[in-house]
């Protein structure tokens, strides 16, 4: 269970540019939950994800995972529980290393890295099998540098790496936003495949309101650092895009073109 209580994050404290990115945000998610987060620019979506993953320190509030307080746990230590896929396909993989080396790195997430071999024969066989199962054809490119792959292939690989070792939380920060519509669809299908019947919690930030309604069992709308609307279960499934747009208007959120065009 992920429990976020009164989380506050303020940037540039005491300066004229001071901005409250998160204002007393509280959220509770259970095992297997898939939460989608929507909101305009500067709503605090990415900040929330970065606080959960430990990239940003929090100014107030607590984050606990299965009863353990992880609020101040270092980012690399928190990686044992939290895995991530970034918006930029270049961020989630090491371009200068080949596919199998990237997978081997991900295979050791949360484990001690010593002086044993960085990748073993058995692992190569295992990775080949796993890649074959995804049906993306990556298994024939295992020895290729990741920098030679397309953005969609890289993002798919990043996703595979994120679930290679079961996390407790999977964070997806607009992971399909930088891809063309067709590739975005493939990556999203892969996401659904990996998270279906999963034991871990998934949190996905998206600009696409259709996806936000269609995918997952919980939805949160954020505006200026606040959670302004929540829905789950049947209530969420029955939502329409127009409902969300009117919710946005109610709170006076400015919707950028990207959100409207994607809807």
């Amino acid at each position: 269970m992920l429990k976020i209580e009164n989380l506050t994050k303020i940037f540039n404290v005491g300066e004229t540019t001071e901005k409250t990115a998160l204002n007393n945000v509280s959220l509770t998610l259970e095992e297997g939950d898939f939460l989608t987060i929507i909101g305009g620019n500067g709503a605090g979506k990415s900040t929330l994800l970065n606080c959960i993953s430990g990239v940003l320190s929090v100014d107030n509030g607590t984050i606990s995972l299965d009863g353990e307080d992880v609020t101040h746990l270092a980012e690399y230590k928190r990686a044992k529980y939290v895995s991530r896929v970034f918006q930029n396909p270049l961020d989630g993989t090491a371009g200068g290393m080949n596919i199998e080396e990237n997978l081997a790195l991900a295979f050791r997430r949360g484990k001690k890295r010593g002086l044993g071999w960085g990748i073993t024969k058995e692992e190569r066989v295992l990775f080949h099998k796993l890649l074959s199962e995804t049906g993306l054809g990556l298994e024939s490119l295992m020895a290729q540098k990741v920098s030679t792959l397309s953005g969609g292939q890289r993002q798919s690989l990043a996703l595979i790496m994120a679930v290679l070792v079961q996390p407790k939380i999977l964070l997806l920060d607009e992971h399909t936003a930088a891809l063309d519509p067709k590739t975005a669809k493939t990556v999203l299908e892969l996401t659904q495949k990996f998270t279906k019947d999963s034991k871990f919690i998934t949190i996905m930030v998206t600009h696409n309101m259709n996806d936000a309604i269609k995918i997952g069992n919980k939805l949160v709308m954020m505006n200026q650092g606040n959670v302004v609307f929540q829905a789950s279960g049947q209530e969420k499934q029955n939502l329409k895009v127009v409902d969300l747009i009117s919710k946005f208007s109610e709170v006076g959120a400015e919707l950028n073109d990207r959100i409207l065009l994607n809807s």
């Binding site: 690399y76 230590k77 990686a79 090491a94 790195l105 050791r108 997430r109």
Partner: protein, 310 residues
């Protein structure tokens, strides 16, 4: 001609000594993507440690190990300044480099240099073994030493960067965001890589001191330029598909090539005062070769297209 050959042997022996340093620079500059200037002083640290130890009766091999360790400590300082105190990489290196100058003088007992003529050196082992003269065959002896040391260094690094920890050092250099997300302690990987890199610089300093039979506080001046020049020269022939050990070996050869260019220039009558100018020219030329190649390829392509049109 005989004189030229003789000078070339000298160039090769020096090139191999500095090759150890070049490999160290390659680790930070290319693998960790960390512009580390510490080597300018850590090489001298290695040199003066060996000089003082041997002058006081220490065995040559032990002195080399101590030099390597001393260099590592210098790397550790830079790494801590960067990772723990968040000082930018280049500045952290400059600060350590500057501080080390005073430390190196202290090691030498507040003198600028210490000589140890007549004391045993690692080259002396081979002189005894192969019945050569320590003075006449100085460069040949040094080459024997360095081929062994370079092979050991390349072998060690080939193994190290294939391990789990070595892979995480590489990942840190390629993409630290990804590395952290995969649970890699990027502070630790940086610290270890800088320690290895400067350990190699210290080792090169120790070898240089044994070659010269003296250690000087200024022996490291301009080290970073020499290291970079060697790496860049090597990279004109290194290809992505090459095995890692081959890349490292080519970096060592890059350093040898760099020395031979110097030897040639001096033999052609250039004054040794102009060497730095030549060094800069070498780096600039090596760096522009890819650009020129691209231009030529582009022109060819354009020419081809024009032919099609006609």
């Amino acid at each position: 001609m005989a004189q030229f050959l003789n000078a070339s042997v000298g160039g090769i022996s020096l090139g191999l000594i500095w090759g150890v340093l070049a490999v160290g620079v390659y680790l930070t500059y290319r693998i960790l993507d960390f512009a580390d200037l510490t080597v300018d002083s850590s090489l001298a640290t290695g040199g003066v440690v060996t000089a003082v130890l041997i002058a006081n009766g220490c065995t040559p091999i032990l002195a080399l190990l101590a030099s390597c360790l001393a260099g590592s400590c210098a790397g550790l300082i830079t790494a801590l300044l960067n990772t723990k105190l968040k000082i930018p990489a280049i500045l952290a290196g400059i600060l350590t480099m500057s501080a080390l100058y005073s430390i190196n003088l202290k090691i030498l007992g507040n003198r600028a240099n210490v000589s140890f003529f007549g004391k045993p050196t690692i080259n002396g082992y081979w002189a005894d073994l192969f019945n050569l003269s320590l003075i006449d065959d100085k460069n040949v002896l040094s080459i024997i030493t360095c081929v062994i040391v370079c092979s050991a260094v390349v072998g060690f690094l080939y193994w190290f960067f294939g391990t789990e920890f070595g892979c995480s050092v590489r990942a840190t250099g390629f993409n630290s965001t990804m590395a952290k997300a995969q649970g890699i302690n990027t502070d630790l990987t940086k610290i270890v890589c800088l320690m290895i890199s400067n350990g190699l610089a210290g080792l090169a300093g120790g070898l240089l001191a044994q070659h010269n039979q003296s250690g000087d506080v200024n022996m490291g001046t301009g080290t970073i330029v020499i290291g970079l020049a060697s790496v860049i020269l090597a990279e004109t022939v290194i290809r992505d598909r090459f095995s890692f050990w081959l890349k490292l070996a080519l970096v060592v050869l890059g350093s040898v090539a760099y020395r031979l260019i110097f030897t040639f220039a001096v033999q052609m009558g250039m004054h040794t005062n102009d060497l730095k100018l030549v060094a800069t020219a070498i780096i600039v030329i090596a760096l522009t070769v890819p650009l020129i190649k691209k231009k030529i390829a582009h022109k060819k392509l354009k020419g081809g297209l024009n032919n099609v049109k006609n």
